[in-house]
Symmetry: C2
Subunit: 276 residues, 2 copies
């Protein structure tokens, strides 16, 4: 198979790579659904998402010239009309605005974003959902998606107070799972819970004050695991209206990080429901 030759870029102000300029300073997620993918693992997920034609589009790829030879196979996963640009280290860093030692970037676009209720309506009869309220840290957000993908979650549903998973760092930490996992981020936590209840989901709020051990969550055709903000966890107003589960741990310590807690609980719930 013959690929089009990559286009060499020698001028950091070249209009063709304008979308990659100063990506560290800019949060692209506000601009018409644009996002930045970093590194080979995420690039592979982007290729898969692009081929799946579910709203994720690869627009352009920018590589450090020394990386091109090792990426032939991966580049062949993209359609020939996705341009591939290459630059030497000096030009590459001048474009990106910081030392990108990975040397692998792609610019993408998310079209056709499903709204929350359509996404819930599209879920299969047997579903596992990760729901989250007020997640403000992009590392945690990315880690939540990585865990969701690993343990067979069908969709991630967040309130509007949660940060954007399409932010560069969240995509990277998710090892690209943000690009393939269906998600919606809108409305309040209370509205999200109400919609999930109406759709027949057993909702389990994860909290150190939960009443049931995660190992004892009963199997159900539709289960939603709900996690709260990094600092305070889920508010009492939400916990008092749903079933709650806890992860056993030694007393007297800070509760686990939200992404770690979600990973442990999702693993257990996925086992209980035969999803892994």
């Amino acid at each position: 198979m013959t690929l089009p030759a990559p286009v060499r870029i020698d001028d950091p102000s070249d209009a063709r790579i304008a979308g990659f300029v100063a990506i560290k300073e800019r949060d692209l997620t506000g601009r018409q659904g644009r996002f930045i993918a970093e590194g080979t693992v995420v690039l592979r997920m982007l290729a898969a998402a692009h081929r799946a034609r579910r709203g994720i589009v690869a627009e352009a790829i920018l590589l450090l010239e020394s990386r091109v030879a090792g990426l032939t196979e991966l580049l062949a996963d993209f359609p020939a009309d996705v341009p591939v640009y290459v630059a030497d280290g000096r030009v590459f860093d001048a474009i990106a605005g910081f030392n990108m030692h990975r040397g692998v970037l792609a610019l993408g676009r998310r079209d056709a974003v499903p709204d929350r209720d359509s996404l819930i309506a599209s879920l299969p009869a047997e579903s596992l959902v990760l729901a989250a309220c007020g997640i403000s840290n992009h590392d945690n957000m990315g880690s939540l998606f990585r865990n969701a993908a690993a343990f067979g979650v069908d969709a991630v549903l967040m309130d509007a107070a949660s940060c954007d998973p399409m932010y560069r760092k969240a995509i990277r930490v998710s090892v690209g799972s943000v690009l393939t996992m269906p998600f919606a981020r809108e409305g309040t936590g209370a509205a999200l819970i109400e919609r999930l209840q109406t759709a027949g989901f057993a909702i389990w709020g994860l909290s150190p004050r939960g009443t049931v051990d995660i190992s004892d969550i009963p199997p159900a055709p539709r289960t939603a695991l709900l996690v709260g903000t990094e600092g305070e966890g889920l508010p009492e107003a939400i916990l008092s209206g749903i079933q709650t589960a806890r992860i056993r741990q030694r007393p007297g310590l800070d509760s686990l990080n939200v992404a770690m807690a979600a990973g442990i609980a999702l693993h257990q719930v996925a086992l209980i429901n035969g999803r892994i």
Copy 2:
């Protein structure tokens, strides 16, 4: 209870706070066992570690003046001979060398570091150990300690290729567990395994290619969970000589982050052995 009044610092070059200067640039861990603790949660763990008199000594505390009023109770946990310095925002940032929005720092010292074999010899008849080879990322290191503490691990044992858990960021991510969890870091992974086997530990290497599900690890008086480097995991030379376990997950994805995998596996092993 009356505490000595904090000492006000107006000059960033004041010799009394020299230990706090430019802490971002310096890795203190090489200097006579000195370390930096950041934030109130870690400060609380430092107070506990200091009182336990097992080799961790608090030397000095430096606070942003606006934080002092809220920390009276916590400061009372330290002996009166640990000096408390306060500074305004400008001086504080000039000392620390970066914008320390937490405004809570302590300088500590780790004396009386146990060697690996003494630590193994000191473990109780029923023990759970986390062993690690080649962990190079301080976030992961801190997270491993946080999980170890949460799930009742008795000691963390690392090879010499692993990074130093006493580094500021690792201590912070561990929420101070590094200060209270017994650990040793020396020698090769092979030597560590040999010592643990001699001490009667059932050793389980965690790997995506593991043969037993983590849920099926049998209970044992002494269990050691072994995890490998972030990228490659445990090498075949080590995996081929021990029992191996895996975490079930959806196929076709990158394996879980090492700290996440260790958290999930430690939770399971701790349940199996009735430690949580």
